[in-house]
C-alpha cells in the first residue's frame, strides 16, 4: 500500500489535485451526470453547489467509485476511474458521506479502529480535533448525537494521510452551535489538506470556501471564486434558487 504524501517539490501550486474530465453517470434510464468537468486545486476548500437533486452527491460518489461512471478522473495526474473504491481511498481520497453513515452498532473506538487498527481513538489527531470523542470511546456510535456522529465520520477519515477530502453536507440537520464547530474543524483541516465540499449552508461556504463549482441538471454551469458568487445576489439566486440574505438570516 502506498500512501502518497504531497510535497511541494512534486506538486506545483498550479497543478490540481483532482481533475474530472467528461464524467457521465447513467443509472437505469436516467442520465444523472452529463459531461461534468472541473478541477479541484491542491489547496483550500472548493465548494460544490447547486439545487437539490442536481447531482452533487453523485459527483462525489463517482469520484470515489461508488457510482457507475464513464469519463476520466485524475488524482494528482494518475487515472483512477478504473480503480475499486477501496483502492481509491487508500490512494489518498477521504470520503465523508451525506448522513455520516457511522457504524451505529460499533463503539466510537471501533469505528476509528476500522481505519487505524493500532491506535483508534488514541491517535493524536483525535485528541487534537475531537477531544470529546476520547471520553466517549466505549459508547456505541448509534447512540451519539448528530453532531458527535459527524465528528466520528470526520475523525475516521482523518486517520489516514489524505491528499484530498470529499465532504458531503457535513452540517445537515445540525444545531447552529454545532455547525460552527464543524466549520472550525473543516477550516483547520483545509490548512493542510484540500477539501471538495458539498454544502447547502451559504454563510458557511462564504466563511471557509475559496472557490465554487455550481452544478445544474447534471452539468457544470458556473466556476469561480467563492467571494464573487456570494457577493452577487442575483447570480446566487439564478444559480442556486436561494436568496443569500434569507439564508444568512436563518
Amino acid at each position: 500500500m502506498t500512501e502518497p504524501i504531497p510535497s511541494a517539490a512534486e506538486t506545483s501550486p498550479a497543478a490540481p489535485v483532482l481533475t474530472l474530465e467528461d464524467v457521465h453517470v447513467r443509472y437505469g434510464g436516467s442520465h444523472i451526470l452529463q459531461d461534468v468537468s472541473f478541477d479541484v486545486p491542491a489547496t483550500g476548500v472548493t465548494a460544490l453547489l447547486g439545487r437539490n437533486g442536481v447531482g452533487k452527491t453523485t459527483t462525489l460518489r463517482s469520484i470515489i467509485g461508488l457510482a457507475p461512471r464513464s469519463g476520466r478522473i485524475l488524482l494528482e495526474g494518475n487515472e483512477i476511474q478504473d480503480r475499486t473504491t477501496a483502492r481509491i481511498v487508500r490512494g489518498g481520497i477521504g470520503y465523508v458521506p451525506e448522513d455520516r453513515e457511522v457504524f451505529g452498532g460499533l463503539t466510537v473506538d471501533e469505528n476509528l479502529r476500522l481505519v487505524d487498527p493500532d491506535r483508534g481513538v488514541d491517535a493524536p489527531v483525535v485528541a487534537r480535533l475531537f477531544p470529546d470523542l476520547v471520553s466517549r470511546r466505549g459508547q456505541r456510535a448509534g447512540t451519539l448525537s448528530g453532531g458527535e456522529q459527524q465528528m466520528v465520520a470526520l475523525a475516521r477519515v482523518l486517520l489516514r494521510d489524505n491528499v484530498l477530502l470529499l465532504v458531503d453536507e457535513p452540517t445537515k440537520g445540525l444545531a447552529p452551535k454545532l455547525v460552527t464547530e464543524v466549520a472550525d474543524v473543516l477550516a483547520e483541516v483545509a490548512r493542510s489538506t484540500p477539501i471538495l465540499l458539498v454544502e447547502q449552508n451559504l454563510p458557511l461556504v462564504r466563511r471557509i470556501a475559496d472557490r465554487v463549482v455550481v452544478l445544474d441538471a447534471g452539468a457544470v454551469v458556473h466556476r469561480g471564486a467563492a467571494a464573487d458568487l456570494v457577493a452577487d445576489a442575483d447570480l446566487t439566486r439564478e444559480l442556486l434558487g436561494v436568496s443569500m440574505r434569507r439564508e444568512g438570516a436563518a
Binding site: 453517470v25 437505469g28 452527491t57 453523485t58 460518489r61 457510482a67 457507475p68 451525506e98
Partner: protein
C-alpha cells in the same frame, strides 16, 4: 434508512433486475387502436402460426427419430408434448411474479399444487362434479394466494424469497403426511376416472389431453397479455423497475404486488388443475422446493419478463428433463470415466450447469439471445 442515491451502488446499470431487459416487449403498447390493422396482425401472426402448427400436431403421423418417442401423434409423444405445454403455461404464470413484477418468489409451486390437489380431492373425496370441482380448486387456491401473499409481502427482497419457500415447504409437508388419506402421501392422488369425461381418459385419448394443455397455454397467454397492457400491468412494471419511485408516483406497491401474486397464482392453480387432468392425478413432486426452483430456472432460461421466454423456457426444460436421460447412453460418451457418465445421466445436473452458464453469459435468456442474434443478422 437508505440514502436516495443508495440504489446506485446496489444496482449496477447492467444488472438484470428480473425481466428488466425485455424492453421491447415490455414497453406498454401505445394503445392498439392507433396502430394500423395490418401491423397489429403482423405482430400476432407468429403466435397464431405457432398455435396453428401445435393444434395440427395430433394429425401428424410422422416419426422424428431421437426427438420424440414414436410418431408425433402417438400417445407417448402426445403425452410428453402435453406435459411440456402445461409446464410452459405454469412458467408463464410464474413470470407474472418474477419477470413482470420483480418478485423473487420461491413459493409458486404451492399454488400449482393447490390447484392440482384440490381438484383431485374435490372429485374423489368430496364427490363434486368436474365443473364444480374446478371452480372450488381455483377459488380456494386464490384465497390461499391472498393469505400467503399478504403475510409474505410484509418482508421484501430476498427475505420474501425465504418466506415463500417456507410456506411452500409447509404445504409439501402436509401433502407428504397424507392427512385423512386425502393427498395420498408419497404416492400422490390419482384422478377419479369416473368423474371426468371419457375424452380425457385412456391412452387413446392422449390428443384430447394435448389439446386441453394447449388450450390452457392460450388462456394463460391471453391473460398475461391483457394484464401487461392494463393499468395494473404498468404499475407492476413500475414496481419492478424501481419500487421506491413507483411508490412516489402514487402506486400502492403492496397492493400491486399482492395483485401480481393473486393473478399469477390463479393462473398457476389453473395450470395445476390441467396438470392433474393431463397426467391423471396429483403428484407430490409438484409441492417440492425442487419444482419451485425449476420454475425459476425455466423462466430465467427462456427469458424473464417475456411471454415467449417463459413459455419456451418451460417447454424446453420439461422436454430436456424428460429426454436428457438418453444422453448418458449416447455412444460418444461411452469412453468417458464411469463417474462422469453417472453425473451426466442426471438431467438436473446438466440443466443446473446450463442454467448457471445462461445467468452468466445470456442474462436475458435464450429468447433474448435469439432476438439479439436475429436483430444483428438483420441489420447487416
Amino acid at each position: 434508512m437508505t440514502s436516495p442515491t443508495d440504489h446506485l451502488t446496489h444496482t449496477h446499470p447492467s444488472s438484470v433486475t428480473p425481466g428488466g431487459k425485455e424492453e421491447s416487449t415490455m414497453t406498454p403498447v401505445a394503445s392498439g387502436e392507433a396502430r394500423p390493422g395490418w401491423r397489429r396482425l403482423l405482430r400476432v401472426l407468429p403466435a397464431v402460426v405457432v398455435l396453428a402448427v401445435l393444434a395440427y400436431l395430433p394429425y401428424l403421423p410422422v416419426e422424428v427419430p431421437g426427438v420424440l418417442p414414436g410418431r408425433v401423434n402417438g400417445p407417448g409423444s402426445m403425452q410428453l408434448l402435453a406435459t411440456c405445454l402445461v409446464i410452459g403455461g405454469i412458467a408463464l404464470s410464474y413470470d407474472v411474479l418474477f419477470g413482470r413484477t420483480g418478485l423473487l418468489s420461491f413459493g409458486h409451486a404451492l399454488f400449482v399444487a393447490a390447484g392440482s390437489y384440490l381438484l383431485t380431492i374435490s372429485l374423489s373425496t368430496w364427490s363434486l362434479p368436474l365443473s364444480l370441482a374446478v371452480l372450488v380448486a381455483l377459488a380456494l387456491s386464490t384465497v390461499l394466494a391472498l393469505v400467503v401473499g399478504a403475510i409474505a409481502l410484509r418482508v421484501g427482497g430476498i427475505a420474501f424469497a425465504m418466506v415463500t419457500l417456507a410456506f411452500a415447504q409447509a404445504a409439501s409437508i402436509i401433502v407428504m403426511r397424507n392427512p385423512g388419506g386425502v393427498t395420498g402421501g408419497e404416492e400422490g392422488r390419482p384422478l377419479d376416472r369416473v368423474a371426468v369425461p371419457d375424452l380425457l381418459v385412456g391412452v387413446a385419448n392422449a390428443p384430447y389431453r394435448y389439446w386441453l394443455a394447449l388450450g390452457f397455454v392460450v388462456v394463460a397467454w391471453v391473460a398475461v397479455t391483457l394484464l401487461v397492457r392494463s393499468r395494473a400491468g404498468h404499475a407492476m412494471a413500475a414496481v419492478r423497475e424501481n419500487e421506491q419511485r413507483a411508490s412516489v408516483l402514487g402506486f400502492g406497491t403492496y397492493r400491486v404486488k399482492l395483485l401480481a401474486i393473486v393473478v399469477g397464482s390463479f393462473l398457476g392453480a389453473l395450470g395445476g388443475v390441467v396438470h392433474a387432468l393431463v397426467l391423471g392425478g396429483s403428484n407430490p413432486h409438484l409441492t417440492t422446493s425442487e419444482f419451485t426452483l425449476s420454475l425459476l430456472v425455466m423462466v430465467v432460461l427462456g427469458g424473464a419478463g417475456s411471454r415467449w421466454g417463459a413459455l419456451v423456457g418451460g417447454v424446453l426444460y420439461t422436454y430436456a428433463d424428460a429426454r436428457l436421460v438418453e444422453v448418458s447412453n449416447a455412444p460418444f460418451l461411452q469412453d468417458l470415466p464411469v463417474v462422469v457418465r453417472q453425473v451426466l445421466s442426471q438431467p438436473l445436473f446438466i440443466l443446473g450447469v446450463f442454467f448457471v452458464v445462461v445467468v452468466y453469459f445470456a442474462p436475458s435468456g435464450l429468447t433474448g439471445l435469439g432476438g439479439r442474434l436475429i436483430r444483428r443478422s438483420g441489420s447487416r
